[in-house]
Amino acid sequence: MTTTHKLCLGGIVITMATTCLAYMGASSSWQFYMTVDEFLNQAPTSRDYRVRLSGKVGHDSLRIATDRTSASFTLVGAKSHLRVECRGPLPDNLTEGLDVVVEGHGKNSGLFQGDKVLTRCASKYDASNL
């Protein structure tokens, strides 16, 4: 068996294994974040672990403390929503109606205790009217 044969065979095995890995990663439970609906579909008792949740900040729900160290808002998914309390540094552009990802723990009481908020970019870049 020559080196070239070996390289080709090795390349095939490695490509197959990587494809397999990518396929696994693409299926559900190995993700950067969960949606609000997915999270709430779990049994309430199994929600007490660290997770990132994605959703919209609900209208008329955002309350930011004057020193900007904490905030509370409703995280809205496609079907359901969740109350979030967040302690920790907040992004400057946090506003209502924005897509965000919150990192934190679920609580049994139905409250989500977050400690970090990431705002997501808009999916379309529009020119400002200014």
């Binding site: 080196t3 070996k6 390289l7 065979l9 090795g10 095995v13 490695i14 294994a17 990587t18 397999c20 890995l21 696994m24 439970s29 190995w30 672990y49 660290r50």
Partner: protein, 225 residues
Amino acid sequence: MLMVTQFYWMVRKDLVSEYRARQVWPAMLMLGTLVSFLFSAQLDGVVEGRSRIVGMLVWLAIYFAGILAMHRTFAMEQEDDCWDALRLYPVTASWIYLAKFTVNFLTLATLQVVVLGLFVVFSNVPLLDHPLRMLTVALLGNVGLTSVGTLLGGVWTENRQGSTMLAFLTLPLAAPVLLAASEATRLVIDQEGGPLWWRWLSFLVVFSIVFVTAGIVLFELLIED
């Protein structure tokens, strides 16, 4: 059959010479012990997220002490030009890789037993409540780290600062294993089985397949002169 016999003797020679000289194991076990001890001592005040930290520290301790060993299995071939003699041996480089892989695997397994034991005693974390799961994670993590370490270890047989270079260059390639193994260990400690745990395990399996294959294919290129 001949291949298997040759393979057996290559592994046996390393183990016997290590048993006689006892160069690598004491240093490696000492380093492993010290690192585990220091990490555990520092963990004393931590309450929240303990399992997450322990998961990572266990694997860091194994990694740093393990690199020392992986370098030594090649460095010891330098004495009396053993390395040249080994390469004159009528086997392909792939078999040399597999033999060195096996020796490194056994060494790292010994180290893992010590490190895991120390962490259980000192850090008070239920690492061994699911012994079978922990064993699976430890074995797969071992195969992943050893496959990378052995592949690159062949590069610095003579270099004096070899073990530093090895630790440095193995890290980017070994980082996925360290992360996956730490995460799987955390899930073992937190007693969360389920799909996530299986996913990390399958990641470790795929990684091992990739790098053992790469080792068998590329080792020849790395050691030829």
